[in-house]
């Protein structure tokens, strides 16, 4: 049997699609809106264009572009089966994006082909697309990214293909896109972000009683995990750089020059959104590394997360993953609130509501999880939640 490369169902509903970096949150500036005739031959015409995607609120969706086509041409026999749109980037040296649309699927009015209306694909023996119709999946700006930022020369390539693979129509539309950064820039940012995360984690770990070996091990493991996806020289280089960050952070911490507040400001100014989340996650991991998360440490990380404006939902997910293992041991009163992520000074009704929601979540997990150790963790969380609730 043929080796199955990627055997997972893909989502086309891009609800989860959010720019993960503040910089790509900017609206891509497609300076020239290309609208070029693929062919105008008497009565025949076919057009394609690229435009920012517009959300329900009427505003452009950051990070997304849409390809639309319009036209009317005489269809040959057999009728072309596919419409293929490619975006070609000479600098990357390959097509940046390909998507294909099947005539039959359109006829079935397949709901999520992102057409705002059914395309009257074939009328008699003509292919007619009366008004601008979106094709394929939205173009993610990041996927058009070249090595560096700036002006990008790209080509939109639209083809009509017959069932046997023969290309019936084809034309290319050059267009320019202005991108704030390229993947090299992203790499640099990422490395900078990782270095800052390490420094912050060292600062948090040292704040209470000096950094422990287990905490250093946790950071080292994290570094290894972060360079896993890289290859060869790049990997060695990045790993060395990050280890160096760790060593220098340790030295600065000992010398007393590593200040949490300064690191936060730096992360806030220079870090990306995902980078800030990464820093908070690392702090949690490091904090849990020695098996004890004190209320002070937890409160510090919660405060850091607040100042870094980390999404509260992501924050609670990160806390769950790193701290659920800690609830089994004896936990003192202040720590319990911190582990649960509940503000102990809130009014009792609010605390009760929050506890009930937590109870629901962990009760489901305690039943669902098959790994006995994980299940035990979930049950410990439940006990903790119930103990806190019993006091209210």
């Amino acid at each position: 049997m043929e080796l199955v490369a990627l055997i997972i169902i893909g989502f086309v509903i891009y609800l989860a699609l959010q720019p993960n970096d503040s910089s790509s949150g900017a609206i891509p500036s497609v300076r020239e809106r290309p609208e070029s005739a693929l062919r105008t031959d008497g009565e025949e015409s076919f057009f394609a264009r690229l435009e920012p995607a517009i959300g329900d609120d009427g505003k452009p969706i950051p990070g997304l572009l849409l390809v639309s086509v319009r036209g009317s041409i005489q269809a040959p026999d057999p009728t072309p089966a596919f419409l293929r749109v490619m975006i070609f980037d000479a600098e990357i040296g390959r097509e940046a994006l390909v998507f294909t649309q099947n005539a039959d699927q359109q006829a079935n009015d397949a709901p999520a082909f992102l057409c705002t209306r059914p395309i009257p694909y074939l009328v008699g023996n003509r292919i007619i697309i009366g008004s601008w119709a979106r094709v394929g999946i939205p173009v993610i700006i990041d996927s058009l990214m070249g090595p560096i930022g700036g002006k990008r020369e790209l080509r939109l390539d639209v083809q009509l293909i017959q069932a046997d693979g023969h290309i019936f129509w084809r034309t290319e539309v050059p267009f320019t896109a202005e991108l704030d950064f390229g993947y090299r820039d992203v790499d640099d940012r990422r490395t900078a972000n990782q270095a800052l995360s390490i420094q912050l984690a060292v600062a948090v770990a040292s704040a209470s009683d000096g950094i422990q070996d287990a905490e250093i091990d946790a950071i080292t493991t994290w570094i290894k995990k972060n360079v896993e996806g890289l290859e060869g020289e790049e990997r060695t280089k990045r790993k060395k750089a990050l280890i160096a960050s760790l060593r220098s952070a340790q030295q600065r911490s000992e010398a007393g020059t590593l200040q949490i507040s300064k690191l936060i400001t730096k992360l806030k100014n220079e870090g990306t959104r995902s980078g800030r989340m990464m820093a908070v996650e690392l702090c949690f991991t490091v904090m849990a590394a020695d098996g004890i998360a004190s209320a002070d440490e937890l409160e510090t990380v919660n405060k850091i997360a607040k100042r870094l404006e980390v999404d509260p939902q992501l924050l609670s997910a990160a806390r769950d993953k790193s701290l659920s293992g800690l609830s089994g041991g004896a936990v003192n009163a202040r720590d319990r609130y911190a582990i649960l992520g509940i503000d102990a000074s809130a009014d009792p009704a609010t605390i009760r509501t929050q506890l009930s929601a937590l109870y629901k979540k962990w009760s489901s997990r305690a039943t669902t999880l098959t790994d006995p150790a994980k299940r035990k963790e979930a049950e410990d969380m439940l006990r903790l939640i119930a103990e806190v609730r019993a006091e209210h």
Partner: protein
Amino acid sequence: MGIIVGIDLGTTNSNIARLDDTGRPLMIENPNSSESPNITPSVVVFDGENILVGDSAKEYLHIDKHGPGFEKWKLEMQHPLPITAGGVSKTPIELSSLVLKELISAAEKKTGQQVESAVITIPAKFEEEARRNTIAAGEAIGLKIKDIINEPTAALLYYSLSHKILGKVIVFDFGGGTLDITAAEVNGQDIRVICSNGDNVGGQDFDDIVESLIVTAFETESKEKFDEDVHTLGASPEMYKKRLSTKSEVQAQVTGGKAGRTVVTITRESFEKATAMLMAKAAMMIENTMTEANLSIKDVSDVYLVGGSTRMPMVVALLTEYFKKAPVALVNPDEAVALGAALYAGLKAAPALLNPAQRAAVQQVQLQEVANHYYGTLSVSQLSGGQQALRVSNVIAKNTPIPHTAEETYYTMSEGQTAVLARVTQSATDEDDPDFVRIIWEGELGPFPAGRPAGQPILVRYSYDANQVMHCTFTDVGTGISKEVNLSFADSKAAKGGISVE
């Protein structure tokens, strides 16, 4: 003609009821149960060649705590690995089979008739495996199981028969090992379940706490360390707990050790303080059920009590405080579940098995259940920057009235993709993290023709029918290649046999 029965296979106690000739459910006594004839303790002991079940097994285990006996295995039905006691290993399914066998043979002896058709009750919280394992336990002894039913729903069925119930009600079913809370809308015998929640907290947790209170008091009093091999409680913790329900304090006796006999006093106050954590769980479950059902206190016309643990005064106090009115205990709360199950068994039995009076009686009953879990599939969610994450997307939401059919379309990810990994997930909350859901079925859809571009639509259709079977179909729209799996929550074998590929 044979009899039709409903069985409440409980954590600590089990019982069985039948549909009588007039179509009313009726408890069947177990001649071997001397203490309470309607109750068969869910306890099994392997004494050499003899297998003891029920009362005799319970007595045996009280005397020889570390003997080859088993109790409270119901919570393990989810993960049916063998349990070992006194050198004997048995699976929860085997143990359940033995209790069922005892109940059936007692019923057949008592009535002089064969059991023709049965329904077994299960906690609302039970997941698919536990449901299937329960049925497997019955099938292992040749029992003809027509269906399973959630315990609180069964109790409500019975209550609606004997009382005129109208409006939205809460059933608070607090048993030996589980607490189930159900919200339902009732109009006479027309019952529509709104939602059900459950958790593993029950009488046994209270027993454990009573025991630890006695042990602590004994150790303080006698300055002696409590040792199970030396010291013995005068009565079971369960017995002391029951006494604390009617008295404000009890004298517990510990025999053995240096003192020979020590008497300690346990007050209801200290018991309630020590179990506050368990009651907090109950309180949170009530709140979550009310939120899920979108009910406010004034919407609830009554709260009904089911299960032995509702006899504890603090349970009544909690419910009275929350709902601002006293809960209703209609019959012996231990029996409502089995009685309701017998009625439901009549509804599910082949009409030929029923006499005209029975047929007329069960025809009055209308029951609409809801899906007890979220059912979804795993898909890849595209984040920007080319990042991808495996996410759960739910197709059928918990508390959706069944039967129900839902469809979602997904797309292939890669060019030339020749197969899709299709998965059915189950969870009790709307989780999107795949680490926290259970994959209840997994199969590959394909092979698709080579060379197709990415973005081929895959139609996922889940259809949950009234017989507790969920038909899941994964279809590649382009080629029509499709895979169907029938996941039955009322037949232990259906999931294995029901896969068909077109």
